[in-house]
């Protein structure tokens, strides 16, 4: 068998290397897309079966806001759309 079974899928959210993911509301999503002058297809993607996406219960079409630590900017915001 490949891989291993996660005891609790949400446990990864507590890992120090996993940044904070947040599902945006429909309104927020529209705003972000407009802000960056981008269509859904142009947004960076994240798979629905990505461990983090699964853990926070993201659905296809959801836009996630990710707060990452950055060497250059201290903290940076990134967005990924669930596919």
């Amino acid at each position: 068998m490949r891989g291993y079974n996660l005891v609790d899928s949400e446990i990864i959210l507590k890992h120090k290397l996993v940044p904070e993911h947040e599902i945006l509301s429909e309104k927020e999503k529209k705003k972000v897309l407009k802000e960056h002058n981008a269509t859904e297809e142009q947004m960076p993607r994240i798979r629905k079966d990505d461990p983090v996406a699964k853990a926070i219960g993201a659905e296809k079409g959801d836009l996630l806001r990710i707060k990452r630590n950055s060497i250059t900017a201290g903290e940076s915001t990134y967005y990924r759309i669930v596919v």
Binding site: A38, Q42, M43, P44, S70, T72, A73, S76
Partner: protein, 839 residues
């Protein structure tokens, strides 16, 4: 010329069907020969005139064209027995083992196929089924013996039988395998007809002796035809099956190697000389293949290449171009009513830069010669184009390979000089990574006004002084300029009036300041003349040492453009000073400063003199003694360690074995000897030692280099450890087996000054060789990594809204570098120099 602009919608690849091959073919090739005794192409041979002409004077029998106009035409060979196309063997194999031999459906139920997404999944699930789920037929296991032999229950399946089987697979089933049956029926991959490429795609070479040498592909086709004929003869003679199969295999071998001569498992077909033949796949593949060499590789006109040599007298913006090159290169100048009178001078001139050609508005070109001169002078009017030779001030693009970043290509202004080399200001070496040990560089001459303007405004050397990588100068005074800056500006250096004048004149300054050291001029005052008048700056020089010179030459103080304190060394040229002048006063002033400062200081240096001799690495006897004691002490310590190790008293370093611990301890002990000896040597050297000066001010060389020359070379390493290779348990037969002493394992206690003994020399060579090999491998490895990386990143660019996007406008970064900061406008990795702001 009429041009069309169309976008390619899609490209479809397929396999040629036998019918297509026959209908495209102009003639059937049967004879394995090319030319008859008279050198005339044989009808039905591989150089048949239906395939196009390669001999001057003959006409193509297909299109009637002559050599050059005839594009070449295909022929074909009818194979007596079909053979497998090597490149498709795997697809055939997959089809055979995942379809039923009886009903030809996939060996999976329809529902199961539905659930699988890719072709690979279908093959993976279907291949080992022993029973067909559709018709219940028992399936036997099929094996592929690479490259082209198939077996069923250890029984050989011949290509003809394979073809019969896959012919039966219906189109719908093929579609499930992602094969479009209209363009690529798999049975077409079992070749019964072989297309013969046009004669001009495999040209023969006539040697000086008159002997003709055929192309590798022609050779291969000859082989195929020969075996084909033999097989045909044997078949009609009713030869035994065994012989037939042998010949059949031989035909398969030749056809396989015709397509690809690097198939694993079978020997490559060779030329008579033993060289492997270059067949179809080899023509396309790799760096020297059709794609990378002929299609992606571009060659240019209006360029020059030769050896470079340094010239500190020319500006950093300039490049010295030999007269011979300047006379050869031309640039077009549009004739207008404003420049016509000036341009006429070029036509009249007897000496370069002369006008070479005049181009009329209708595109006709006229050569300017003494005979045509007068007529052309009369004729030209605005709208004409004049092509003239290179002259001083022309903008060219200068380049040195490998072109790793944008500053590998910069715009320079031409300065035509006598001599045969391209001349470069040594300050511009760092961005090109150039030196003068035989390096060659390329020069490109822009051919349109647009290109010239672009080069001048975007690529000019002076605008590249700050590197876009980390925002620090990359064009700066180095080596002798640094030594000179120090020698000229150090405390107590003064110059007589005549020399001061000379130095200032070199910097193009003709206003002498009031003398400040009696009737002489201090170096600091002279250097101040090239600084901007309102410059105020304070920083630590490279030679700065806490408690030694921090209140003297170690700290630089510039007030209102006057160098009050401190020396101009590496930090000034390559750091703070250069940086500040560029940012505060702009590129023009920075270029002016660099040109003037370097010329001023080297003129001063030539008056003072600066040289290195044996004296500079010689040590006083006491120091030699001390160093020897150091070495002896160190050796004793090592012996102590070895003793401890043998008595098993040595405490292990976590994660290391006892032996590794010992080695690590010895290495650090020996390292200590070297650094401490170096320290001793350095301290014994007098003020004014040129070697030491160069290293202190950052011009060239390190303390380690000095140590190795004057004190001792130290431990030589191979594979990161002490040397133990060559013989059993010892490095050389001069030592006892298992000797762990320092001398036997590569410790060199001699210095380069004293010379090495034979074993030391050998160890030093071992270390040196490793260094060379590593360097070679590193550059090759990183070069390939770079190629892959550039390929992956080539379309990614920064948009106006600071997002980083790819070719399809997909976002890669929402803010460039996550903080939206341009590294070129940073000061050494930081967006703002806080200290500078608060000052």
């Amino acid at each position: 010329m009429e041009t069309y602009s169309k976008k390619i919608g899609s490209i479809k690849f397929g396999i040629l069907s036998p019918e297509q091959i026959r209908s495209t073919s102009q003639t059937r090739i049967v004879t394995p020969d090319t030319y008859d005794e008279d050198g005339y192409p044989i009808e039905g041979g591989l150089m048949d005139l239906h395939l196009g002409v390669v001999n001057p004077g003959l006409r193509c029998k297909t299109c009637g064209g002559r050599m050059g106009t005839c594009p070449g035409h295909l022929g074909h060979i009818e194979l007596v027995r079909p053979v497998v196309h090597v490149s498709y063997a795997k697809i055939i194999y997959n089809l055979l083992r995942s379809t039923c031999k009886d009903c030809n459906k996939i060996l999976l139920s329809d529902e199961k196929v539905e659930g699988l997404e890719t072709k690979r999944d279908i093959v993976r699930k279907a291949k080992n089924r022993s029973k067909c789920p559709h018709c219940g037929e028992k399936q036997s296991k099929i094996k592929l013996d690479r490259p082209t032999n198939f077996y069923e229950n250890d029984q050989r399946i011949l290509p003809s039988e394979i073809r019969e089987r896959i012919e039966k697979i219906p189109d719908e089933v093929l579609r499930q395998f992602n094969i479009d049956p209209e363009y690529a029926r798999p049975e077409w991959a079992i070749l019964s007809v072989l297309p013969v490429p046009p004669a001009n795609s495999r040209p023969s070479i006539t040697l000086q002796s008159g002997a003709r040498s055929e192309d590798d592909l022609t050779h291969k086709l000859v082989d195929i035809l020969r075996i084909n004929q033999r097989l045909r003869d044997n078949l009609s003679a009713g030869a035994p099956q065994l012989i037939i199969e042998d010949l059949w295999d031989l035909l398969q071998y030749h056809v396989s190697t015709y397509f690809d001569n690097e198939i694993s498992g079978i020997p490559p077909a060779r030329h008579r000389s033993g060289r492997p033949l270059k067949t179809l796949k080899q023509r396309l593949k790799g760096k020297e293949g059709r794609f990378r060499y002929n299609l992606s590789g571009k060659r240019v006109n209006f360029s020059a290449r030769t050896v470079i040599t340094p010239d500190p007298q020319i500006s950093i913006n300039e490049v010295g171009v030999p007269e011979t090159i300047a006379e050869e290169l031309t640039t077009p100048i549009p004739i207008t009513s404003w420049n016509i009178d000036n341009l006429k001078k070029y036509i009249k001139r007897e000496k370069p830069p002369k006008a070479e050609y005049v181009k009329k508005p209708d595109g006709r070109r006229k050569k300017v010669t003494p005979e045509t001169k007068e007529a052309i002078l009369e004729e030209i009017e605005p709208g004409y184009l004049l092509e003239r030779q290179l002259e001083d001030g022309d903008v060219i693009v200068f380049n040195r390979q490998p072109s790793l970043h944008r500053i590998s290509m910069m715009a320079h202004k031409v300065k035509v000089l006598p001599g045969k080399t391209l001349r470069l200001n040594p300050c511009v070496c760092p961005p090109y990574n150039a030196d003068f040990d035989g390096d060659e560089m390329n020069l490109h001459l822009p051919q349109t006004e647009e290109a010239k303007a672009e080069a001048l405004n975007l690529m000019l050397v002076q605008d590249q002084i700050i590197t876009p990588r980390y925002g620090r100068p990359i064009i700066y005074g180095n080596q002798d300029f640094v030594s000179a800056g120090y020698e000229v500006t150090k405390e107590g250096t003064t110059f007589k009036k005549t020399i001061a004048k000379k130095m200032l004149a070199a910097a193009d300054i003709y206003k002498l300041p009031e003398p400040d050291a009696g009737d002489e001029y201090s170096g600091k005052l002279l250097f101040s003349q090239v600084l901007p008048d309102d410059l105020n700056l304070g920083y630590k020089a490279t030679i700065h040492e806490e408690g030694v010179n921090e209140d003297a030459d170690g700290t630089v103080v510039i007030e209102d453009g006057l160098l009050k304190q401190g020396v101009i060394d590496k930090e000034s040229f390559q750091g703070k000073l250069m940086d500040r002048i560029f940012r505060k006063y702009g590129a023009d002033r920075a270029r002016e400063f660099l040109n003037k400062a370097t010329k001023l200081v080297i003129t001063g240096l030539m008056e003072k003199g600066f040289t290195v001799s044996f004296k500079d690495i010689e040590l006083p006897e006491e120091t030699e003694e001390e160093i020897n004691n150091k070495i002896e002490e160190g050796k004793e310590k090592v012996d102590e360690l070895i003793g401890k190790y043998e008595e098993e008293e040595l405490k292990r370093i976590p994660g290391k074995t006892r032996k590794e611990t010992l080695e690590a301890r010895i290495m650090s002990e020996l390292g200590k000897i070297r650094t401490e000896s170096g320290e001793l040597a350095k301290n014994s050297m007098e003020e004014g030692n040129y070697m030491l000066t160069m290293s202190r001010v950052g011009a060239r060389g390190s303390i380690l280099n000095i140590t190795q020359m004057s004190a001792l070379l130290g431990q030589q390493a191979v594979r990161g450890g002490r040397i133990l290779r060559g013989y059993k348990d010892r490095s050389l037969p001069h030592f006892k087996k298992g000797d762990m002493g320092v001398e036997s394992r590569g410790f060199v206690k001699s210095s380069l000054k004293d010379g090495l003994n034979s074993t030391e020399f050998f160890f030093h060579s071992m270390g040196g060789r490793e260094g060379l090999v590593d360097k070679g491998i590193r550059t090759a490895k990183s070069g390939y990594m770079q190629r892959r990386l550039i390929h992956a990143l080539q379309d990614i660019n920064l948009k106006q809204d600071k997002t980083v996007r790819d070719a399809k406008n997909r976002i890669v970064q929402f803010k460039y570098g996550e903080d939206g900061v341009d590294p070129m406008k940073c000061i050494g990795y930081k967006p703002i120099d806080y200290k500078e702001v608060t000052e």
